[in-house]
């Protein structure tokens, strides 16, 4: 019960944070740069057109009033028009978001399985062959930006061996599956269009792995460290002394308390993925929302930037809430007593 309350409390808190975030983003978009109208319409626009634009977008009002107009629109999903695509930003996001979600979800699943699995295996024999090779690889994994991994994969698997498709979300000869969730792999499976699903899957292997590598390395090391830490605890001695088999002690008794910090770490890694997706999507010309936003940044298309950044903020908050639920499931102290925010 306390755990349920705790989650509710966190959700209420998230809404407050989201409100704060919107102010921060509004400030970035409106306060710092020069004339918004000039930026939106270009320096060649006539003074009359600019004035009209200001009038329409309430730019002549004081800033706090502007904010309320803006947030009112944003809540209704209206982020204004993109200067690049000349379409409403919301429409653009709706089109490009599923691709990025698919990519991040793939990378996150890869990280959870790979990171925690490797963490447990290496903690079993610290200093062993597997531990040392994972250690070296993880150092490289953390030290290399994911866009570099992406480029390396592209070089190896496309240019040299031709195993995987280079760019985009689907090969040009494949018709996208019927839109249900927007995730091509899932939609392909749901509609029985396995060819499309398989092709889409092949397209996310490289960018997804490039995004996940750093996280795998980090969460493997985190899991390993907290496993080793917990293995020094008296309760593990007690469990071993009671004759419970080592494998069970490791995978059940040590893993569960050790997974709690690893799970919080994974939330941070997903945050890093949301950032790195900008570069990786660029490398693979992957038509996701990050690539869209990157073009918007480079072209000073502030409405689009603000819209996408808010969407990313919301997604990250959702990830955090999910992590809270998982942590509460793993840790009875949070579940039964309710943690602190």
């Amino acid at each position: 019960m306390a755990g349920f309350k705790y989650i509710l409390k966190r959700m209420a808190w998230s809404i407050f944070v989201l409100f704060g975030l919107s102010i921060l983003i509004f400030c970035i978009a409106r306060v710092i740069p020069g004339d918004t109208a000039t930026m939106a319409l270009g320096s060649t626009a006539s003074e009359h057109a600019k004035e009209l634009y200001r009038e329409q977008n309430h730019l002549n009002e004081p800033l706090p009033v502007q904010y309320f107009y803006w947030i009112g629109d944003a809540v209704r999903g209206n982020f204004g028009n993109s200067t690049q695509t000349k379409r409403p930003v919301a429409t653009d996001i709706k089109e490009f978001l599923p691709a990025t979600l698919e990519l991040i979800a793939f990378a996150a699943i890869l990280e959870i399985i790979g990171g925690i699995g490797l963490g447990v295996l290496t903690a079993r024999k610290p200093g062993g062959l597997l531990d040392n090779s994972v250690r070296v690889t993880s150092y490289l994994g953390i030290a290399t930006p994911s866009f570099v991994w992406g480029i390396l994969f592209m070089l190896i698997f496309c240019h040299w061996t031709h195993l995987l498709p280079t760019i985009g979300r689907l090969s040009s000869n494949i018709v996208p599956p019927k839109n249900i969730t927007g995730l091509y792999v899932i939609d392909g499976i749901l509609t029985g269009n396995t060819a499309a699903a398989w092709d889409a899957f092949k397209h996310i292997i490289m960018p997804g792995t490039a995004l996940a590598l750093t996280g795998i390395a980090q969460s493997a090391r985190m899991t390993r460290a907290s496993m080793l830490d917990n293995m020094d605890k008296d309760y593990v001695s007690a469990e071993i002394a009671a004759g419970i088999p080592m494998r069970r002690v490791m995978w059940v008794y040590v893993l569960r308390p050790s997974a709690i910090p690893a799970v919080s770490m994974i939330a941070l890694d997903i945050a890093a993925m949301l950032g790195n997706a900008f570069m990786v999507e660029q490398v693979f010309s992957y038509p996701g929302v990050s690539k869209y936003c990157l073009n918007a940044i480079l072209n000073k298309d502030l409405n689009a930037v603000v819209g996408v950044v808010l969407v990313i903020g919301v997604s990250f908050l959702l990830v955090n809430i999910m992590v809270d639920i998982i942590s509460a499931f793993l840790d009875p102290r949070i579940r039964l007593q309710g943690g602190t925010i």
Binding site: V17, G20, A29, Y139, V148, A271, K300, I312, G313
Partner: protein, 302 residues
């Protein structure tokens, strides 16, 4: 002063420096137990030296700016240009060497601003835990952390003209909150220790308690994060310049070099691979050093 007193004073100074020396030796032992940390330490020193003496180390210092020699363009690695040449015929090795300074400035600059700001915020919030000041600070911190750092940095760069300085600023704005949260956690638990209460009981000032009692006890945590952050911040800088939001050509920058190079794959592979390896090397060295320092500071009594 009697002679006897003088003598004891001298020995206490001598023994204090002996203790300090012993501490240094002990820390070095903790640090050097892991040979990989020593490798990281040496590598970082080398990188700093290269960045300082770039002018003398680079084979073609003039290639660091807008130099063109199209007759020598896109040469693969050879005895004259060890790591090959780029599309304008500039030596890749020289440009990599000249980019080290920017990477280090990026890392040091961001941390030197973000850490003090974050630490002071964290200390205040920790000390005044439960009061309105603390709540306001930490809520603002939460807002800054509610967006992935790289995304926030990208969004901020959107409103500036891209330069190294602006990308540093963007990263700093998205980075200080991490220090605030870290120090807040440490400070708010230290605040309840008995030695803080006893300092309050003997009438120590707030300033004394925050900076002389709480801060020294967070120092190890902060230092560990600072060394580990060097690598992360350099990576973020490289990411920003990769998408064209960092230092602008013809200034040599690893991220920009990769972004120019990968369009020429798979033929001119050296234009991508070597700058990428350089980033890896810098970040790896700082990570190894940071891990060594973390091990040293967190070592259990063994």
């Amino acid at each position: 002063m009697s002679k006897k007193n003088e003598k004891t004073a001298n020995t206490s100074v001598a023994s204090r420096s002996a203790v300090r020396w012993d501490n240094i030796k002990r820390n070095w032992y903790m640090f050097s137990r892991n040979k990989i940390s020593v490798v990281g330490f040496v590598a970082v020193i080398l990188i700093i030296l290269v960045a300082i003496f770039q002018q003398y180390i680079a084979p073609y210092p003039e290639h660091s700016s807008a130099y063109t020699n199209f007759s020598a363009a896109k040469l693969s690695p050879n005895s004259q240009y060890w790591l090959g040449t780029d599309a304008s015929g500039r030596d890749v090795l020289s440009r990599i060497i000249f980019s080290f300074r920017g990477a280090l400035i990026m890392g040091v600059g961001v941390i030197m601003v973000a850490a003090p700001v974050g630490v002071i915020m964290g200390l205040l919030a920790g000390y005044y835990k439960g009061r309105i000041v603390s709540t306001i600070i930490m809520r603002v911190v939460d807002i800054f952390l509610s967006l992935p750092s790289l995304v926030l940095a990208l969004a901020i760069s959107a409103i500036f003209t891209p330069t190294l300085f602006h990308s540093m600023m963007a990263i700093t704005v998205s980075w200080w909150a991490w220090y605030a949260r870290l120090v807040y956690g440490a400070a708010s638990s230290i605040r309840n220790e008995y030695y803080i209460q006893s300092a309050e009981l003997i009438g120590a000032s707030r300033k004394h308690i925050i900076f002389r009692e709480i801060l020294p006890n967070c120092w190890f945590t902060i230092l560990t994060k600072m060394t580990l952050d060097m690598g992360i911040v350099i990576l973020m800088g490289a990411s920003l310049s990769f998408v064209g939001l960092g230092a602008q050509p013809p200034k040599p920058d690893l991220g920009t070099m990769i972004s120019d190079g990968y369009k020429l794959l798979p033929d001119a592979w050296w234009l991508t691979i070597f700058p990428a390896a350089a980033i890896m090397l810098i970040v790896l060295s700082f990570n190894l050093l940071g891990d060594g320092i973390a091990d040293m500071l967190n070592a259990k009594e063994v």
